[in-house]
Each structure stands twice: as structure tokens, then as C-alpha cells.
């Protein structure tokens, strides 16, 4: 598992009031968190500030799962 996955899980669970155990590496981000596109954009801002990284949108375009998202964060740390 990538280095950022646990922090990503905790942040998402707290932010969207979901049980951290339902966040799986292969889980779909939108479906698991029940968020829309506006909330997803806010989540990106939170993640960038939490991890002190910048992740251009085009690097996230095909990312659907938490595992892929944490890998994208790791690549920018």
C-alpha cells in the first residue's frame, strides 16, 4: 500500500463522516464517499494542503479508486 493511503483514508473518513473501514484501495472514490463533482474539487484542495503537494487535474482524470489517488499523491510528494 502506498505511503499516503492511511492518511488519505483518515482524512476522507473524517471529512465525509464515513467509517474508515469502508475505504478500500480498489473502492470508487465517488461511490464510497457519496460525493458529487463539487465536493470532489473541494476534496482535492484539502488533499493538496494536507500533503503539501499540487496535483494537476489532468493527472487525476482517469483516477477512480483510492489506491490510484494515493499513488498519484505519492508521486508528487
Amino acid at each position: 500500500m502506498s505511503a499516503s493511503f492511511d492518511r488519505l483514508t483518515q482524512l476522507c473518513a473524517k471529512r465525509y463522516s464515513v467509517d474508515a473501514s469502508i475505504i478500500k484501495a480498489e473502492g470508487d472514490i465517488f461511490e464510497t464517499l457519496g460525493i458529487d463533482s463539487f465536493q470532489a474539487a473541494e476534496l482535492m484542495s484539502e488533499l493538496e494542503m494536507e500533503f503539501d503537494v499540487e496535483i494537476p487535474d489532468y493527472e487525476l482524470q482517469d483516477i477512480k479508486t483510492f489506491g490510484a489517488l494515493s499513488a498519484a499523491i505519492d508521486a508528487r510528494i
Binding site: 465517488f30 458529487d36 463533482s37 463539487f38 470532489a40 474539487a41 473541494e42 482535492m44 484542495s45 484539502e46 493538496e48 494542503m49 499540487e54 494537476p56 487535474d57 489532468y58 487525476l60 482524470q61
Partner: protein, 258 residues
């Protein structure tokens, strides 16, 4: 729906149109109505903020734009585009040049035309949730509501070129770092911070305040006119209609994520 109040010399203009303050003819008419009645003699500041959850504004109403173009014969499309863009430029220019200290409060999405609306403000305060982008190149056009001239006036730099030429979005911290935004505040604290700024503006001599703004922030007239021509030329091509068709017909749950 656009609502406003005037209290102690400060106007508060609330953008409250679901889902995310898309700018089409309805929003435009409401902004015109506000500008027609605003009392600039007895006010010192204007705060523009959004009351919708998604953010400040997602930009132009692309569905209305697409339907509007599809409703008319091809030869009438360019005049229709030109009418709309002339009207929107007039609103943006009037907001930009108001003899008041104007403060924009940004949360969530601030994309495209919404970002251009924000750029008419003298001061931008962004909550930590704010995200800024110019996704126009993805539609085969350039920002057409005066955005590029206003960005060039304020902060022409490498970050701005990155924003425009890749369509990527940036967060509030980055927007402050590159000079587009002057204050970053916690989520939910934007309006309070704006009211404090407005109170400060209210203390100053009106003539000095107005003169300072006019001297510091001239309208980039020639560039705005040039932008209109560029926009209409690019937007009149089939590329835009194809992109809008794809957008309108898409069932992708993430249409606002570039």
C-alpha cells in the same frame, strides 16, 4: 437568484442560483438589474458572495449556450454570440469600474466565467475550499468574459499561463501565492473577513478611495475589445458546438473536474 442588501454603506450581493451560479441570460439580467439600481453615492463597498454549496460559480451556463446556438440557423449563430458577449462584457466592465471597494468571497468552485466575474473584484478572499480554473481550452475557446485582460492587468505570470494553457485548477493557497487572491481564510469564514475589509473601506474619505481605485485599476479597454473578437471567432467554429454537445449529453458524474 441574485439578492442584495445595503447596510451601513456596504452592499452585499448574494449569488444563489443552483447548482453553482452558472452565468446565462437569467443571471446576467439579475446582475444588470442590480447595477441599474446600485447607489454608489451612499455606499463605500460591495461584497459579492455565493450562497450555493458548490462554490462561487461554475462559469458560463453551457447548456443554455448550446441550446441557444442550436435554436438558430447557422448564419445567426455568430450575431447571437456577439450579442451575448457584448452584454456580459458590459456587466463585467460596470462591476469592475464601480466607484466602491469590491470584495469577492470565494468558496468551492470558481471556474471559467465565474472566475472572470471574481476577477472584476478589487479584493478576493478565498476560503480554503476554493478552487480556481480556466477550462475554456477544453471547449476549443478562450475565456470570453474579460478574464485574460484582467489577469494580465493583475498577475501575468507563469502560474497564470499554466492555468490557461492546461486548463488545470489550483487551490486557494496557490492562488494567494501567485497574487490572484489576497487572503485565505478557513471554510465558512470568508464573509466575516469580507465584512471586516468593507468596514475598513467605509472609514476612508470617499474621494480618496474612489481616486485610488480608478488610478490603480484602469480598465484594459483595448485588450477587452480584442478578447471579444478572438472569442467570437473561436466560438463560431464547429469545435465549440461539438464540445458543448459532448458536455450536455455526458452522464459523467464529474463534469466539472478537468
Amino acid at each position: 437568484m441574485v439578492r442584495w442588501t445595503l447596510r451601513d454603506g456596504v452592499y452585499e450581493l448574494e449569488l444563489g442560483r443552483d447548482p453553482c451560479n452558472e452565468i446565462g441570460t437569467t443571471m446576467l439580467a439579475e446582475l444588470e438589474r442590480f447595477l441599474d439600481v446600485i447607489d454608489t453615492e451612499n455606499a463605500s463597498a460591495l461584497i459579492i458572495h455565493s450562497s450555493v454549496r458548490g462554490g462561487f460559480s461554475a462559469g458560463a451556463d453551457l447548456r443554455e449556450l448550446y441550446n441557444g446556438l442550436m435554436d438558430v440557423p447557422e448564419k445567426e449563430q455568430e450575431p447571437r454570440l456577439r450579442d451575448f458577449i457584448d452584454r456580459i462584457h458590459s456587466v463585467m466592465d460596470r462591476l469592475d469600474m464601480l466607484p466602491l471597494t469590491t470584495i469577492g468571497v470565494i468558496h468551492g468552485i470558481c471556474f471559467g466565467g465565474g472566475f472572470e466575474l471574481a476577477l472584476t473584484c478589487d479584493i478576493l478572499i478565498a476560503e480554503k475550499s476554493a478552487r480556481f480554473a480556466f477550462p475554456e481550452l477544453r471547449l476549443g475557446i478562450v475565456p470570453g468574459f474579460g478574464g485574460i485582460p484582467r489577469l494580465r492587468r493583475d498577475v501575468s505570470n507563469a502560474v497564470v499561463r499554466d492555468l490557461l494553457l492546461t486548463g488545470r485548477s489550483i487551490n486557494a493557497k496557490k492562488a494567494v501565492a501567485c497574487g490572484m487572491v489576497s487572503q485565505m481564510v478557513p471554510v465558512g469564514a470568508g464573509l466575516r473577513a469580507a465584512r471586516k475589509s468593507a468596514e475598513q473601506a467605509n472609514k476612508f474619505d470617499p474621494e480618496a478611495r474612489r481616486t485610488c481605485k480608478a488610478f490603480m485599476k484602469p480598465l484594459p479597454r483595448e485588450q477587452l475589445d480584442e478578447e471579444k473578437e478572438i472569442f467570437v471567432r473561436l466560438a463560431s467554429r464547429p469545435v465549440l458546438q461539438a464540445a458543448l454537445k459532448k458536455f450536455v449529453e455526458s452522464d459523467d458524474p464529474r463534469p466539472y473536474l478537468p
